[in-house]
Subunit: 415 residues, 2 copies
């Protein structure tokens, strides 16, 4: 039996036990795991050094090295994350509705764990603790398949988490790591329908597309964001400038950062020079269409390809549009249904944008950077769903549960 | 451009228009469609006769012929179904929650249409009107791919529905039929991610597995049901008999009918002869394990294969178990997570069964036949989901919608 079959079977068993555990018992596991991460941080840092050494030897670039790095501060943040999850309300067991039917049947809908969740992710080893915490809190077993760059760190972290579970009397197979990081095991995991109830990819567009294209396990698609800011002709110009700059530069490497800017022709001449000055302070490269370049002659020309790009970098594509209609059409064509914003003081345009834009989060007069579990008030999140089934937008604890109908009868038969 | 690409693009356009229509406008379309089905019933019956002729010439068996047949009464039922959908509450536009965050952002979660729904189904032409009605009510465009046996009926029905839409000013591409019923178009439809937001298969286990295995479009899996009745040692025997018989014979061809019966050893000798007598009145074939045959010597022997079968017929597999633990284990191993029932007067056993059985609907002292949109009080349903993502159990109008976050700001940027 292969590694995945074996781990799948163990996870399934663990999930049955976990489903019956109280919030208190699960929280004890989270707190103990947080304690152990701190207690054994030296071991984690040592394992991480092996990964870093290997990465450097293989000429891996700086931003990836940064994501891969675990230091004392980051391990403390991982532990703090687990403590915060312990403090959130447990969604499991909530009865969403319960009604008595005319025939006397009492039908309730109850929130229950999914069962076994698979997570495929890339270089960040802190996802390991984070995903474990969210899954444990919601009574799910989790099978983690991280990137090969972080394998030594991940093995060490999962070992510590499992020890914590055992000590508090929870099944240690509630969290398991796939240690064979070949592409074959990833593909096998995508077809592990016998054991996995859902598969969540966390990472870049390439990873997510591979999972969507190959998985027979139900997938929750997360995170690719070609987010737009549309500056309407009735925009407050100063707000438009500060929101655009914030959405672009506050953290350019994340999915809710703005990648494209659409500007109504009637305000282009006032707005563009102002936003240009501010973006230049952050060394943002601007790629404009012809009309933009008529106003800002020294910006680069945008090509068709730029409208569809998720740069995740200090680059923004800028286009002048004739109307809100053109803006909505452009976003419908090139957007990824993540987060989209209109800046306007016009009531009808604001309402139209909110209604007609098909995205997980649609904003009026605010930065797209707010699409985030903490900012929405849900607490920790497992990712941001850009699909329409099950979950859309930031996915917190509730989105890691399903429901079942529980029906109380006293002999009812169907007529 | 192939038929599906073309129809996908038209459906997408129609869905944008539909999403903005009021409940009143959509209801007008439903009522007009109901009127037209009655007004043009002769045309439908004529088209259906071609399908029936063809089916008979090809030696298609009786139960399929029955499902394929449309007569005046069935067309009236189709029309009545549309009128009932018109009377249901429109879930679109409901704001599920709206909260003000500390930074002044007001974040609401609003129910919106999915967009374009694909439905792949088999012989019943009445699904055509039914699926159209549920999708139109929820503001979704629908692409229907029915079986080749019903193609003439389906073409005629969709033509009538489209005429009704046009007359009331709704886009006629809100409902489209795939006329090429080859396997290739079905496969192509499963990969039409560009246009389809969700794909729902309705039909037998083979169809559903094909869709789950091949679709890259998100799928809602419906309906395979190997449902169990477990008669506990503390069961009221008369209730146990009537519920078992009802769950088996009231309509054996549907997914929520019981296929397996588990009996606690302590009541087997009293219960089995009683249920035997009743089941025999309906000519139900009983396939029992050794212990069952010890009590009922003339029943057939059950093989390992019988425990996993969805007979959809007058056949039931029966097993004697030593304990509720064995019953739960058996159901976990062979069940399809559809509908499961325990018959007991024991409080703790009832609670355990409700908690530990992983299924869409779990019953105490009632027939599994109640797992149904109408019986649950939701009105019409598009199917019964046996998966855990998005929808579980009977799927009514709400399950054909998604949500989006709408965020009202006044210049907020992220710190």
């Amino acid at each position: 039996m292969g590694e995945l079959q074996q781990k799948g079977a163990l996870a399934k068993k663990a999930s049955v036990i976990l489903a019956k555990k109280s919030s208190e018992e699960k929280n004890k596991g989270l707190i103990k795991a947080a304690d152990f991460l701190l207690q054994y941080k030296e071991e984690i840092i040592k394992a991480n050094e092996i990964d870093l050494q290997f990465a450097k030897e293989n000429g891996i670039k700086g931003s990836l090295i940064d994501r891969l790095t675990l230091n004392e501060k980051r391990i403390e943040a991982m532990a703090e994350g687990l403590r915060e999850i312990a403090m959130l309300e447990d969604p499991v067991g909530e009865v969403l509705s319960m009604k008595k039917r005319p025939n006397g049947l009492v039908i309730g809908q109850k929130r229950v764990p999914m069962g076994v969740i698979g997570i495929i992710y890339e270089a960040r080893p802190n996802v390991t603790a984070d995903a474990f915490g969210l899954c444990l809190k919601t009574g799910n077993a989790v099978i983690l398949r991280g990137g090969k760059e972080a394998i030594h760190s991940n093995i060490q972290i999962v070992k510590i988490l499992q020890n914590a579970l055992e000590i508090v009397g929870l099944p240690k197979e509630a969290v398991q790591l796939v240690e064979d990081t070949s592409r074959e095991t990833a593909k096998e995991m995508m077809r592990l329908n016998e054991y996995l109830d859902v598969l969540i990819p966390r990472g870049g567009a390439g990873l997510i597309q591979t999972v969507v294209q190959n998985s027979t396990v139900p997938v929750i698609e997360t995170g690719v964001g070609n987010c737009h800011i549309y500056v309407d002709d009735k925009a407050k110009i100063d707000d438009a400038v500060s929101i655009t700059v914030n959405a672009k530069v506050q953290r350019p490497g994340v999915c809710n950062a703005a990648e494209s800017l659409l500007v109504h022709k009637d305000v282009a001449e006032i707005f563009l020079p102002k936003v240009y000055d501010e973006l230049k302070r952050y060394n943002v490269e601007i790629r404009g269409d012809e009309k933009v370049r008529g106003i800002l002659p020294d910006v680069n020309a945008a090509t068709e390809e730029d409208w569809g790009r998720e740069y995740l970098d200090y680059v923004i594509a800028v286009k002048v549009v004739d109307s809100i209609d053109e803006a909505i059409e452009h976003i419908s064509k090139y957007g990824t249904k993540h987060s989209e914003a209109i800046i306007t003081e016009d009531y009808s345009n604001a309402q139209r944008f909110l209604e007609e834009i098909d995205a997980a989060a649609v904003y009026v007069n605010a930065s797209t950077r707010f699409t985030d579990g903490f900012e929405f008030g849900f607490g920790a999140e497992i990712g941001i769903s850009t699909q329409k089934l099950h979950a859309r937008g930031p996915m917190g604890l509730k989105e890691l549960t399903t429901t079942k109908y529980i029906i109380y009868g006293n002999g009812q038969i169907r007529q």
